[in-house]
Amino acid sequence: MRAIDVSIERGEAVALLGPNGAGKSTTIDMLLGLQPPDSGDVSLFGHTPREAVHRGLVGAMLQTGSLIQYLSVRELLKMMASVYPSPLGVEAVLSQTGLEAIAARRTQKLSGGETQRVRFALALLSDPDLLVLDEPTVAMDVEARHEFWNSMRAFAARGKTVVFATHYLEEADQNADRVVLMAHGRVVADGPPTEIKARVGSRTIRATLPDADPGELAALAGVARAERRGEAVVLSCADSDQAIRALLERYPAARDIEIAGAGLEDAFLALTADPDTDTDADAPPPALAP
């Protein structure tokens, strides 16, 4: 984890977007006080994370975890609501999260997606001002995902702050006002989803082309970088339409051509350039100010 400096305003919906190992979960653990930062501090509504949790200001859904057994969904929610200073009504939370139909079911009999919804309900119980979700839709099917984000947006519409981690660009794009892009334990970009999409939405061309010189390939129109991998070359493109035309004109022998949208991982790697040579961890993270 490198230096991270992010302030989030009340009422924002912020996505922490990044590949696995980018530091999203660590950031969230520090935000919740589960892990102290080595240096610096974390402040929530002017309190320490621990204090904010005690006041019921924060609700969270951690990345991993299941539910304790031998209680019904309703009983589990009642049990946990009892520890908060001013919880929402259990019936209200059940209806907000669409759990009424399975409220009487024992927690050990739920499907993965239902379990996630109950965990979401647990996060809402304290009527928190800040909701923190660490890859909340991992165990859900498409429909459950859709319903989940609807509930989340209904919550955010009440002026609440939401911070969620995800490695899906689409989820960040559709559900966040702001995207904080993370890689290698630091923030590589921070801005509205449209801006982030433009930055990570590039394409790559891969072709078998034994004799071409990477330097010449990189000079082709539309190509940002070229790399040789054995017999194949990989071109990272600013404009892949232009690049494929230029490539075929100059190298008609190119074969096994694939054009693909760059995975987030690739895009992040490109954005972070070579992180190992960057030893200046105390420098402010490059921010894309809106």
């Binding site: 949790v53 006041r55 299941s66 057994q69 009983e75």
Partner: protein, 245 residues
């Protein structure tokens, strides 16, 4: 009071665990009838001057309650495995309320064990003056404190894969060395060792009902020292466990 609702559901959870019921309550009960029912007319067991049904009612009560207390560890290990302990850390639930609920659930199971085994004893003709029943029960409940702390310690130190053997083996060993299964006599190595163990005094607590005498000072000291040490261990194990990333 908020802690009460939380504790109530914790107790409910313990009561609904059927497997736990079978092994924690059913096993000592079954054992009791297997040993004592055929020998119900033995009035002087092994020269102890005590009838066999009474001797084993007392022995299996101490064993069953000990298992009930240590089994808290099994429940805690299971909760840790599903990430529940971590989930609790992002709620205002205090460590004190957490421990209190665990302790009460353990005592509830021990209480059920006591009621069942007393009932089983009575059904085989065991009869004691009311004062002796009460004195015995009171001392058993006190002698269980170190085992409650032991259960919490094991639950936070050991993973769910190995918690079964750890608690089962631990309870069996302590019961054996404490004189649950046969009298330790009044001299020799086992007797000397037993006197330093909380399980010995648990068994002696149960014998109070027979002899009418409470613990000597040594008994109180051994129970107090083990309670203090194991409580510190429990707090240490809990802290270590919840600090881990």
């Amino acid at each position: 009071m908020n802690g009460l609702v939380y504790t109530r559901y914790e107790l409910l959870r313990a009561l609904r665990n059927r497997r736990f019921f079978f092994f924690s309550l059913g096993f000592p009960l079954l054992f009791y009838f297997v040993i004592a029912a055929p020998n119900r007319h033995v009035t002087d067991f092994d020269g102890s001057g005590i009838s066999l049904p009474l001797y084993y009612m007392v022995g299996l009560t101490s064993f069953g309650t000990m298992v009930a207390m240590i089994s808290t560890g099994t429940r805690i290990a299971a909760e840790r495995q599903v990430g529940w302990t971590r989930q609790l850390r992002i709620t205002p639930l205090s460590t004190r309320a957490y421990f209190r609920a665990k302790l009460l659930a353990a005592y509830m199971m021990a209480g059920l064990t006591i009621v069942l085994l007393y009932g089983a004893g009575a059904s085989l003709g065991v009869g004691l003056p009311a004062g002796n029943w009460l004195a015995m029960t009171g001392l058993i409940l006190i002698a269980l404190l170190p085992f409650a702390a032991l259960g919490i310690t094991l639950g936070h130190l050991i993973n769910v894969d190995s918690i079964g053997p750890a608690t089962g083996g631990g309870a069996s060993l302590l019961a054996f060395l404490g004189g649950t299964w046969f009298p330790l006599g009044s001299h020799g190595f086992l007797y000397q060792l037993g006197q330093l163990l909380p399980s010995y005094w648990l068994v002696q607590a149960a014998h109070t009902g027979i002899t009418g005498h409470g613990w000597p000072a040594r008994g109180w000291i051994v129970i107090a020292v083990w309670s203090a040490l194991l409580s510190l261990a429990a707090v240490y194990a809990f802290r270590r466990d919840t600090k881990r990333v």
